[in-house]
Amino acid sequence: MSAPKLNVTDVAVLARLSLTPDETTKFTAQLSQILAHMETLGQIPTGDVPEVVPPAQPVLRKDIPTPSLSVEATLSNAPAQSNDLILVPKIVE
């Protein structure tokens, strides 16, 4: 595994962050250094190690209704609302 060229701008788009040119430069340098440190993992043989599996003990929920929040409580945190709907800029598909 060789150190990949991290394209901070592309990754930021996936994460819905817009970075200033300064941030982009800084993060590129810092994260490249961190990724280089992470390269050491490549040297550890893990061929026959299964991925971590937490103990399988399903504590599932019975299908029984519990109270919901009041509409007021829900909307009191919403930055924009109208007619009990939470508003966002128009969704264009």
Binding site: M1, P4, L6, V8, V11, A12, L14, A15, R16, L17, S18, L19, E23, F27, Q30, L31, Q33, I34, L35, H37, M38, T40, L41, G42, I44, T46, V49, P50, E51, V52, P54, Q57, V59, R61, L69, A73, T74, S76, N77, A78, P79, A80, I86, V88, P89, K90, I91, V92
Partner: protein, 479 residues
């Protein structure tokens, strides 16, 4: 003497005998806060009126009746702000109680205020807070550690009797060590995470920061146990920890992992830890050298897995349903990008980008999946070590509190400071940090005891025995 200086256990006894009233404690704490909070800045929010009103109504017959407790600002408490020390949660009011908060409430505790932290618990110095830095009560030019730096500084500075923190890679233990108090990270699954704003779900645990090991055990007893709202909580029955302190470490096999004692480590820290291990030996414990061979990989594994999980956990902060929203977004993408770019601080952005990258197409195998496998090896290391010993003894932090601002521009160096604490989060084990000495310049040094999974009782017994044989915990910070 101000009641602010007493332990939780002592106050509990005096409250239940009606010798004192909860309001007396709260008033004394508010006096201390009035005098020193300006310097320390341990809190993001203090609601004096609410605390006093709750104290008036406190029922001292309950297990924690009338005991004031400070909450890290990433725990939801109905109707309260929960900022995670981030601008992005401006205006948010919790519509529900975290299970840990509900359990404390149920046990009669009074909530004093919310403590400062690294934004979304990402950091080791509490410098990554949008609400100002917290200072170490032992030296206000230095960091208190993090991310639960506010909780540690409040407890150490006598501004709180006890506090809750959260620990994803050392965020309870490291600030406890750097501030000279007791910090417990329970075994993963011991305490419900419901209502704790998630940083990395497979690593996060809530735990107490207290003056003494006994206080820690009291809070753990109140908090532990299965929660139907948290699928990852363990099913074992509730227990009372440290109900009968033995005060002895006789026969205990104490493991010293060789990877935790490396050349070049801080000399004063090393000396304090060596001296602590000698105390164990002198008092009837056997010292065993053990190996946790994958320790050098732990930082890389941790920063891959923790940031990957965080990149998803923090996706919900988008300005749609709660919190801060960018003004006049021109479209949906603009709403998301500006809300998040304006709302998150640099460390959070850095980690979201790292976490997004290690999960992205073409890289997930080399980073995320590889790290999961190495995590399995780390866990095996601990399992094997615990066949040879009962507890592990290590430093909590490689060095005492460093000066404010020293590492803010060097994230990798900051990350490397977590080396002794993160493995236990990756393996899921419980661990406790307690004071074991001071440097020449009067900075606290922390000792870490790591137990096998769900081995908190043994760990607390040993920690308690060590603590009571010393008086480090009684020392007062100068601030």
């Amino acid at each position: 003497m101000s009641l602010a200086h007493e332990t939780l256990a002592s106050l509990r006894r005096r409250l239940s005998s009606k010798e004192i009233h909860s309001r007396d404690i709260v008033k004394d704490l508010l006096t201390e806060i009035g005098a020193r909070e300006k310097t320390v800045h341990a809190f993001t929010h203090i609601d004096e009126k609410a605390a006093l009103a709750a104290a008036e109504k406190a029922d001292s017959s309950l297990p924690l009746g009338g005991i004031p407790i400070a909450l890290k600002d990433n725990l939801n408490a109905l109707g309260d702000p929960c900022t995670c020390s981030s601008k992005i949660l401006e205006g948010y009011r919790a519509p529900y109680d975290a299970t840990a908060v509900a359990r404390l409430r149920h046990a009669g505790a009074v909530f004093l205020g919310r403590t400062n932290m690294d934004e979304f618990a990402m950091g080791s110095s509490t410098e990554n807070s949008a609400l100002g830095v917290t200072r170490n009560p032992w030296d206000p030019t230095r960091i208190p550690g993090g991310s639960s730096g506010g909780s540690a500084a409040a407890v150490a500075g006598r501004l709180a009797i006890a506090a809750l923190g959260s620990d994803t890679g050392g965020s309870i233990r490291q600030p406890a060590a750097l501030c000279g108090c007791v910090g417990l990270k329970p075994t993963y699954g011991r305490i419900s995470r419901y209502g704790l704003v998630a940083f990395a779900s497979s690593l996060d645990q809530i735990g107490p920061l207290t003056r003494t090991v006994e206080d820690s055990a009291i809070l753990l007893s109140a908090l532990a146990g299965h929660d139907p709202r948290d699928n990852t909580t363990d099913l074992r029955k509730p227990e009372t920890f440290l109900a009968k302190p033995t005060g002895s470490v006789k026969g205990l096999r104490v493991g010293l992992p060789k990877e935790y004692f490396l050349p070049g480590m801080n000399a004063e820290t090393e000396a304090a830890i060596r001296s602590a291990s000698q105390w164990f030996e002198k008092n009837g414990a056997t010292l065993v050298e053990v190996s946790l061979p994958h320790t050098p990989a732990a930082i890389a594994v941790y920063y891959i897995l923790a940031t990957a999980e965080a990149s998803a956990n923090l996706a919900r902060f988008d300005g749609v349903r709660y919190g801060r929203r960018a003004v006049d977004p021109k479209d949906l993408l603009d709403l998301y990008q500006r809300t998040r770019s304006e709302g998150f601080g640099p460390e959070v952005k850095r980690r979201i980008i790292l976490g997004t990258f290690v999960l992205s197409q073409g890289y997930a195998d080399a980073y995320y999946r590889k790290a999961q496998k190495v995590r399995g090896l780390l866990r095996q290391d601990f399992e094997l070590a615990f066949t040879k010993c009962d507890l592990l003894l290590t430093p909590t932090s490689p060095e005492p509190a460093f000066p404010l601002g020293e590492r803010t521009q060097d994230p990798l160096k900051m990350y490397l400071a977590d080396v002794f604490t993160i493995s236990t989060n990756l393996a899921g084990n419980g661990a406790i940090s307690l004071p074991c000495g001071f440097t020449k310049s009067n900075l606290p040094i922390g000792l870490q005891l790591i137990g096998p999974r769900f081995g908190e009782e043994k760990m607390l017994q040993a920690a308690h025995a060590y603590e009571q044989a010393h008086d480090f915990w009684k020392r007062m910070p100068p601030v």
